[in-house]
């Protein structure tokens, strides 16, 4: 049974849906094709509680009635109501069924093998993770190499679980299977697609 959305506590989404979602899509494309690059978005709207601007914008852009979403938000929270209303996506309880996953608390997130990694015939049928972090910077941190990176790039992600990078490494060994990740912080995002190699 799907619970009704409480419309009275909703806030608006994009002020100009067509233009804003195009710009956000461009930003995601830029980040995905240059893993580790921190892309700043210039949308201005107020996201609901527990969502930062970047992950709210990514959700508005990528989710629709055909995509399923798993999230660590409570099922009757303002955030899930907002996502259901503006994106029209359906929320699933089982993370291994979700096309997208929105993680608002990166420090308590499930391990990556709890999500869909695709199969050999269609590795693209996997989960794309949107992880809200405590900070993103490219001054120091992990070293990334692979497609889209000329020599190497560095990315520091704050607030991840202790085992996250080890977990990511075991996913990398399963290539071409695996999940693609978008890290978000405030109005910034960086991507870590499955093709990128993490070198400690």
């Amino acid at each position: 049974m799907v619970s009704p959305i409480d419309l009275n506590r909703l806030t608006p989404g994009f002020s100009d849906p067509v233009q804003d979602s195009r710009q956000t899509f461009r930003a995601i494309l830029d980040a995905m094709s240059h893993p580790g690059k921190i892309v700043t978005m210039d949308n201005s709207f107020s996201p609901p509680a527990f969502l930062n601007l970047a992950s709210a914008a990514v959700c508005l852009t990528l989710l629709d009635f055909e995509t399923t979403l798993w999230t660590d938000l409570k099922s009757k929270s303002k955030g899930t109501d907002w996502l259901r209303f503006h994106c029209g996506c359906s929320i699933v309880q089982d993370s291994s069924e979700a096309v997208f996953a929105l993680i608002t608390h990166s420090d308590t997130m499930p391990t990556l093998n709890k999500f869909k990694t695709g199969n050999d015939e269609s590795p693209e049928s996997s989960t794309t993770l949107i992880i809200q972090t405590g900070g993103l910077s490219s001054t120091d941190g992990i070293r990334l190499t692979g497609p889209g990176i000329e020599t190497f790039s560095t990315l520091k992600v704050e607030g991840l679980t202790k085992g996250f990078w080890q977990d990511r490494q075991s996913q990398f060994d399963m290539f071409p299977l695996g999940v693609d990740i978008i890290f978000t912080w405030e109005n910034r995002l960086a991507a870590l697609p499955r093709t990128t190699k993490v070198e400690g």
């Binding site: 009704p4 419309l7 009275n8 909703l10 806030t11 608006p12 989404g13 849906p17 209303f85 503006h86």
Partner: protein, 153 residues
């Protein structure tokens, strides 16, 4: 019934939403101009046009089938410090959807409910009924009865 706390039932809301959607845009505009204190509102969903699949049942009881797609416009607005109203209207008239959503929000508010119901919705209903009657009169005049002659053997 989830809406009873506000003094109206789900069925009543369905009825006024239907009247608002079937009225003409101009009628709604006139009614809106007739309101002295217009409330401030913001859009949760700006009016957007898309197509929806109309489903039907043969004879009203068979299995549902897809009759065809039709163009519809939807809108959701929020009266500042008030209720949220929604509208789905036929066609691509954005202002129509917006006004229908505003009236839907006002009708949910006990402060405005009776006034809007009596001054706006009841008038729209009368004019809708009149239009409907005219159409059915016109089509009744062109009614053809089909019957089969039985050949005497």
């Amino acid at each position: 019934m989830p809406f009873n706390k506000n003094g109206y039932t789900k069925k009543q809301r369905q009825q006024w939403m239907s009247v608002l959607a079937k009225s003409s845009s101009q009628e709604l505009e006139d009614a809106w101009q007739g309101i002295s204190e217009k409330p401030d509102y913001r859009h949760l969903h700006k009016p957007e046009t898309g197509s929806i699949m109309v489903r039907a049942r043969a004879g009203g009881s068979d299995i549902r089938f897809n009759l065809g797609e039709m163009t519809a416009t939807r809108c959701t607005i929020q009266i500042i410090k008030g209720h949220v109203g929604s509208a789905y209207v036929m066609g691509r008239d954005h202002r129509h959807a917006e006004l229908a959503a505003i009236f839907d929000a006002l009708l949910q508010d006990p402060l405005h409910h009776h006034k809007i119901l009596n001054r706006v919705v009841s008038r729209l209903k009368v004019s809708y009924d009149k239009r409907k009657e005219e159409v059915s009169k016109k089509s009744a005049a062109t009614k053809v009865d089909f019957f089969t002659m039985v050949r005497g053997e």
